[in-house]
Symmetry: C2
DNA sequence: ACTTGAGGTAACTAAATAGTTACTTGTGAG
DNA sequence: CTCACAAGTAACTATTTAGTTACCTCAAGT
């Protein structure tokens, strides 16, 4: 290690971060190896030195990013609050996770469209793992009479995912409806409130608040 | 016109349809002009003869597809049913429109990611126009005491859009949750029921059924 | 019959781009 | 000091691909 080792790590990491940004922006096909190298202020040769190929660099970017959401799963477990309160917490966590990880969201979207060449197998049921507590909370909610038993949890997971994602991925649409920037903190919080409102009324037996 | 004219139209149309499928599958960058030509059983030269450039062909494909949704907007206006029933009808129309137009959905998604180079201006507020009746229905619903007044219509439009789209664009996720094909007619109807259920409970003052 | 011009073909060109090769530099161990 | 070797550079190659050029074919009007 020492000066050399740090420099190596620096170069490798810088490449990964620049690659993340550019792959997220332009997709695997659209990204240019030369652009990544230039952005990272590193010779193109180094990409092949550290990452063997463009595809492999892309895979590393995906691995790194999908790792983030596994970490999220941990946070959600504790809390002795009521099932409905817990549901709110989960939605909030998830929404802001997506809002704060634009690259993750875009990489996910690219993967979806490309049909996930090799990398698709990197996130098998990532949401399933990311929201391990949701099923339990839901079950508790039903047995405690707070949540209607006719709601399918899987459908709800998809729905929450969709309600959050759509706001963060369809900027054009937002702009056409509101004619203003919709990702300011205030607007994000508004959107989250709407989602929570919709979901709570959508699944609860009755709403008191 | 005559025999020659038909042949011309045939070639032009065949190109457009093949281009639609391939652009929808692979995006503007990913699609190969040669592949489109081969698929349409037409010489590549003819693409440039009829459509000048790859980008322009892509633009024509978008125009053609975005035209479909404008047509949808008409259907929704009439009907003297109650606001909530009308809401169901709109959601149902929209959901099945998306389900039956996979290419449209994918083209939309590509456009979103690419940041809509030139073609983006082709769909300014397409959803706004596609659902012209929704605002009215919503207003009526509020004034008739069926719909809660604290629900933002724009947010709801986004939400319905997201609830439908997510199911049709995130196949991987569906498969990871259910381990089976989720776009069979039965499954689609199930999903639609869930969406309607969620939205109705989400916005209604109280649900009788 | 024959000319005309749109519909059609195949082989080519120029540019872009993933990946390589042969070379140079700088640092730490002996 | 100097040797070994990883880090880094620049110029090159092979391939892919959008777009063109020069040529052919055949149905319709005269």
């Amino acid at each position: 290690m020492g000066g050399r080792g740090n420099r190596q790590e620096d170069t490798k990491e810088r490449l990964l971060f620049c690659a993340e940004r550019i792959f997220a922006q332009k997709g695997l096909d659209g990204a240019r190896v030369d652009e990544i190298a230039a952005e990272a202020k590193v010779n193109k040769r180094m990409i092949y030195h550290y990452y063997q190929s463009k595809e492999n660099l892309y895979t590393e970017v995906l691995k790194y990013n999908f790792g983030k959401i596994y970490a999220l799963g941990e946070k959600v477990f504790d809390s002795a609050a009521s099932p409905l309160d817990n549901l709110c917490i989960i939605i909030r966590e998830y929404f802001y996770f997506l809002a704060n990880n634009e690259n993750f969201v875009r990489l996910l979207s690219w993967e979806n469209l490309y049909g996930s060449k090799q990398a698709g197998r990197l996130l098998p049921g990532y949401l399933k793992n990311a929201m391990p507590g949701l099923r339990k909370i839901f079950k508790d909610g039903v047995s405690q009479g707070q949540i209607r038993p006719d709601v399918d949890v899987n459908q709800l997971i998809i729905s929450i995912h969709g309600l959050c994602l759509v706001y963060l991925t369809r900027r054009e649409l937002l702009y056409s409806l509101w004619r203003e920037d919709m990702v300011s903190p205030v607007r994000l919080e508004e959107r989250l409130k709407h989602i929570i409102n919709l979901v709570l009324h959508g699944v609860a037996v009755s709403i008191s608040e």
